[in-house]
């Protein structure tokens, strides 16, 4: 029998950091609990991440898997509206974009959730099981 899963933002199970080079952005994604890595691999696909950045003109996303570190590295092309020197965006480096990724929803067993998360113990209002 499979374990019950809850729908939550990635931020409740994982962390990450964004960096730029030219017009290319990379975002790391790292689960708090290593056991969550295979489920993230299933659910946080390059295609879903591409969808998060289509409004910015992203032309492609490659996901590099790092199973030994239990991490992922997403490389997102042409998403910085020209890069730090050309963009009109206040955040031309795209450093805040890690938290756009961390807002993506995933379905996870509750035991993978960060212990301080409101989702860790009880079902908060508005969450769907």
């Amino acid at each position: 029998m499979s374990e019950e899963r809850i729908t939550i933002p990635l931020h409740e199970v994982a962390h990450g950091r964004a960096g730029d080079k030219g017009n290319r952005l990379n975002i790391s994604l790292i689960p708090y609990r290593a056991e969550a890595w295979p489920l993230l691999a299933e659910q946080v696909t390059a295609e879903r991440v591409h969808d998060l950045f289509r409004h910015r003109g992203a032309t492609g996303v490659v996901r590099h898997d790092l199973p030994l570190l239990h991490a992922f590295n997403f490389v997102i092309d042409d998403v910085l509206e020209g890069g730090v020197n050309t963009a009109l965006n206040l955040d031309g480096h795209g450093k805040t974009q890690s938290f756009r990724l961390l807002a993506l929803t995933v379905r996870m067993p509750r035991r993978y959730v960060h212990p301080n998360s409101p989702y860790a113990k009880t079902e908060p209002e508005g969450a769907t099981a």
Binding site: H11, H15, G16, R17, G19, D20, K21, G22, N23, R24, N26, S28, I30, Y32, H55, R56, G57, H64, L66, L68, L69, A71, N73, V75, D77, D78, E81, G82, G83, V84, N85, T86, L88, N89, L90, D91, K95, T96, Q97, R100, H114, N116, S117
Partner: protein, 470 residues
């Protein structure tokens, strides 16, 4: 007894490298606890500073055009003044890319500082040769792949600098330099150089060089390894984030690597912070290209060996690339920015009305600019230039919104007139509009190329402070 012997055996072959700055603009008081820690350990050590972002050299080049003596790291004296004497006394070599567009000018500045501190015998080296503007006329230059989409239009060339490898820095250390100043250099090379010099490793010993390169990559952004750009209250807390300790690498003669941070400081070095920084600004983790080697991170494993002490194992190196990256900067026109606030009842509707007015004004006056208007507090940094996310916003009514206009174009006056439309809202805008700011700045556009290593020639100069300062 056995444990003590083990520690002695391990420590015998260690070299420490501390980081004193991760970018131009970093905390100027950060190097002090790093140097204090390096000295307390009593092991051979070096201190490095990484202060050159992609555009920094171009901005420095513009500054040098205004004043030929300047064009180097503006915080140079503030960074070195509190630690120089301690480093000289402790035999801690200092390596930094604070040369910007004028490594010789930076070396003279350090020489004056050393003389003032009674350290006139300090040997200061500077590296030249990263400036490759003369190579940029070639029409067969290959554009670095991530920059293919960047349009430099017909902007005049401001700067072109190659990322030099560790070789000239090692040469400077062999000449007996206490302080080595460089301009554009591969960031990890600032760590590779003192490590290679200390252990006498061959510069094609890819396995051990991979350890030094990994150390450089992890440390080059300073606090980012130790809790900076990391703390997220409740999820990733770190102690005393106002006093994050800058990082230190312990590198062994066998190519072992452990990362830690300055003693008695805030922040944290743990598996989470090390993983985030390991992948920072990385594309393919199997092939992270540096001037000294191509680093493969896919075999890396981490162990928390103690509080704020993380062992890094399994990095591999492949031979250095045949071509070096050159970042060229061009004049990129002007950026005008204007901001104004609304708050309280009906703030979102008033902010949206202000946006409509601004768009109509720019169109009515025929101001030819590339335009973007953000609603800060609704959706801004994640949004696109056309404001798709802010338009679709269906959340709770924000209490406080800042309207920000950005306009870019080739003509300074046109851009400035667009930005001033925000100022005009103080009397012509929606009810309760206030707190206007505007400014127009020159823009620099960068684009990177790949250039044959053989075309780039670095030169090293070394002299005592008493000679250089004159």
């Amino acid at each position: 007894m056995q444990a003590a012997e083990e520690i002695v055996a391990v420590d015998a072959g260690l070299f420490l490298v501390g980081n004193g700055a991760g970018f131009s603009g970093d905390r100027v008081d950060a190097p002090v606890p790093v140097v204090r820690t390096l000295r307390a350990r009593g092991l051979p050590a070096a201190l490095f500073f990484e202060v050159l972002g992609e555009r920094t050299v171009a901005l420095a080049q513009l500054e040098r055009q205004r004043d030929p003596e300047r064009g180097y790291e503006p915080m140079l004296e503030r960074l070195l003044e509190p630690v120089l004497a301690d480093c000289i006394e402790g035999g801690i070599r200092i390596i930094g890319n604070f040369g910007g567009a004028n490594p010789e000018g930076a070396a003279r500045c350090i020489a004056r500082l050393a003389n003032r501190q009674g350290l006139a015998g300090t040997r200061i080296a500077f590296v030249e040769g990263d400036d490759v503007r003369h190579l940029m006329a070639a029409d067969d230059l290959e554009v670095y792949e991530a920059d293919a989409g960047i349009d430099v239009a017909d902007g005049a060339l401001v700067a072109a600098n190659a990322y030099l490898d560790a070789t000239p820095l090692v040469e400077a250390l062999r000449m007996g330099a206490d302080v080595v100043v460089t301009g554009r250099t591969g960031d990890p090379s600032l760590v590779v150089a003192p490590v290679v010099h200390h252990f006498g490793w061959d510069q094609d010993d890819w396995t051990r060089l991979a350890a030094a390169t990994t150390a450089g990559h992890l440390l080059e952004c300073g606090a980012q390894l130790a809790g900076g750009v990391f703390f997220d209250p409740g999820y990733k807390d770190v102690p005393d984030p106002a006093n994050i300790g800058f990082p230190i690498a312990e590198i062994g003669a066998d190519g072992s690597l452990l990362v830690t941070k300055a003693d008695d400081t805030g922040g944290a070095v743990d598996l989470r912070s090390v993983k985030e920084q390991l992948l920072y600004e990385v594309h393919d983790p199997a092939a992270y290209v540096t001037p000294d080697l191509v680093l493969d991170m896919t075999g890396i494993e981490l162990d928390q060996e103690g509080p704020d002490r993380v062992r890094v194992r399994g990095m591999r190196g492949a031979p250095r690339p045949a071509r070096l990256k050159v970042t060229a900067s061009f004049e990129g026109g002007f950026l005008g920015e204007g901001e104004v606030s609304v708050a309280g009842p009906n703030a979102l509707a008033r902010a949206r009305a202000a946006v409509d007015v601004l768009r109509r004004r720019i169109a009515m006056r025929g101001l030819q600019v590339r335009l973007r208007i953000d609603l800060i507090g609704v959706d801004s940094v994640h949004d696109s230039d056309d404001g798709a996310l802010a338009r679709a916003f269906a959340g709770n009514e924000p209490h406080d919104i800042r309207i920000r206009l950005a306009a870019a174009g080739a003509d300074a006056d046109t851009v400035d007139q667009a930005a001033r439309e925000v100022l005009a809202l103080l009397c012509c805008g929606p009810a309760g509009t206030g707190g206007a700011r505007w400014r127009t700045t020159r823009r620099i556009v960068t684009r990177s190329y790949l250039v044959d290593r053989a075309a780039i020639e670095a030169k090293v100069h070394c002299a005592a402070a008493r000679e250089l300062a004159n």
